[in-house]
Subunit: 339 residues, 2 copies
């Protein structure tokens, strides 16, 4: 949300004082798989959610760059101004990484702000094995990263990194005389509060700093690699197992393993039939309810687009073991077998 | 900030989807003494800071209702739409309480949203002796209250109370399918997250709940009354004391005691002279710097409007004693005497 505001300031600084009517109709672009906060930012900051254009994705949930360019041209033809593209690095449901370099080429061509939402995927930057999924992130104007997700920092801890020096102050500072006195006896360049959007608040990033000091970069790398290894272990175990169907093919890019469990009673039905879809849609909620009632384990589910409810298993706790994954599979089968 | 967004939704719900261009130029009104967050909200949410109109105040820093009405009429004549009035209950510097009832009359007359910013003053609602300063708050459309200020709840803990049922959901909900599944096995009316502007976050209000359970309403009342008593003790001791001058006359409405200390070297100067103003402007910063260096005590200062730097002593810790106040006065005189 914040990054959209900064982008607006960058290209239309007069909006800060004169309001959104001082700018042409501004359009934001983001994946149909992206987090709902982008649409919410559109509504909250005065763009309007109709001016948040959703981009088509491939089978793995990654933005198709050609679709972005086509939609930019469409918007320009209508006389609107394409302002901002959000590239997701680790989408909420599929854990998909949009192709940042190809999106950055398009942003450069049309002079647009490129934001990378690494809220969920940011932790992979700690891993020499997985950080290539962020290739091109160095070209972004802004990046968000929530160490409270994959990194295990206690909720909440969010970082926003901005390329252009001074733009945060330009965008936010209000120079309140009762807070940011210039005549203090110390170097007031340490008074950085005026460049932030909030006033009094936690120093949440300290939690991350402390963990980093304690675990080190190597420790975080092991944490990340372990979680991705466990996800691949789950993927390898179920992708050809009877009663399982993967939501998308191939090794997941993040720890998100998305799958359906098909109880024996459904296995004989035609997969494209409405009856099959309706019945399958109810399986994951039922199994999750039984998991919660039995208190043994828990795994989330949701629909996505035309796809009926499926399980989304994510691993972010590096203390998890392969035996935990084995248990999860057994438990899903135990609870779901007779549905 | 949030309250301004809700007000916009109330009167112009189409802004949520179509953007600020779907509304006429919308104008916000707030005291020249109010917190800078109102102006910041104007900039961030697409109103523009020029559309935040500052209201004149009396000598005590309280909004003059006639000035509000005059400025509303002025805005209407220009063809703009007066949307929102912020009444401050406990201003940051003077601790002033705007006359809520008189402002509410005007808001009713012109069909405007009335917000009461009780961030700092809200604690006084716990005190039978002091809550009359909030008279009329029951007529507000929204109220903010930061228990992390006067109430002593660890930073951060902020509450927003809204009169109209359902408006938060209308304003904020985005119905993300991967978070707010309707087919959970429990009563999903407990899933209230979609009505808030943030996604993952602390349950900060729990800290306040726990303190309230432990101290009780009576305990909070004693806390508040003790702090206000101590402020009045300070006021009574310095208002006629040689070398002190009060920034405004009369017993402070909140715990804010605003005063200048005049070192002997300045006492013979003409008070309206530029020399006097320039010298006095430097006194509070110098004394505060010496306080910090000696490590004995600390009290904030700031200028306000045409008034040069003055001390603003606030009491929010009920464990403070009259002897602490006595020490503060002695210390100011010890450090400032030879300036």
């Amino acid at each position: 949300m914040y990054s959209v505001m900064i982008a607006r300031y960058k290209y239309f600084p007069e909006v800060k004082t004169k309001g959104m009517s001082a700018a042409p109709r501004l359009v934001l672009f983001t994946s149909e798989h992206s987090h709902y906060s982008i649409k919410k930012a559109g509504a909250a900051l005065g763009f309007g959610s109709e001016n948040v254009v959703l981009l088509s994705t491939d089978e793995r949930g990654r933005v198709i760059p050609a679709d972005l360019e086509a939609k930019i041209l469409d918007v320009k033809q209508k006389g609107y101004h394409p302002l901002f593209v959000n590239a997701t690095a680790g989408s909420t449901v599929y854990g998909a990484f949009d192709p940042i370099n190809e999106i950055a080429d398009i942003c450069e061509k049309y002079d647009m702000w490129l934001h990378v939402d690494g809220a969920w995927g940011g932790g992979l930057l700690m891993s020499r094995k997985h950080r290539h999924k962020f290739s091109g992130v160095e070209r972004a104007n802004s990046v968000t990263w929530n160490p409270h997700k994959m990194m295990g920092v206690p909720l909440q801890c969010s970082a926003i990194l901005v390329r252009e020096k001074g733009i945060l102050a330009g965008c936010n500072s209000m120079c309140a005389g009762y807070l940011f006195q210039p005549d203090k006896q110390y170097d007031v360049s340490y008074d950085t509060g005026d460049k932030a959007i909030q006033c009094g608040r936690h120093v949440d990033i300290f939690k991350f700093w402390l963990m980093w000091k304690a675990k080190g970069t190597i420790g975080f790398e092991q944490h990340i690699d372990k979680c991705l290894d466990l996800s691949q272990y789950l993927y390898d175990k179920i992708r050809n197992r009877q009663g399982y169907e993967m939501v998308f093919q191939g090794v997941p890019q993040h720890t998100n393993v998305c799958f359906w469990y098909i109880p024996p009673s459904l296995r004989g039905l035609e997969h494209n039939s409405e009856e099959y879809r309706e019945k399958l849609h109810k399986v994951a909620p039922k199994i999750k309810a039984m998991m919660m009632e039995s208190g043994t384990t828990m795994v989330g589910y949701q629909p996505q687009g035309q796809k009926v409810n499926f399980f989304r298993m994510v691993v972010s706790n590096p203390a998890a073991l392969q035996s935990d994954i084995d248990f999860l599979i057994d438990e899903i089968e135990r609870l779901g077998h007779d549905l």
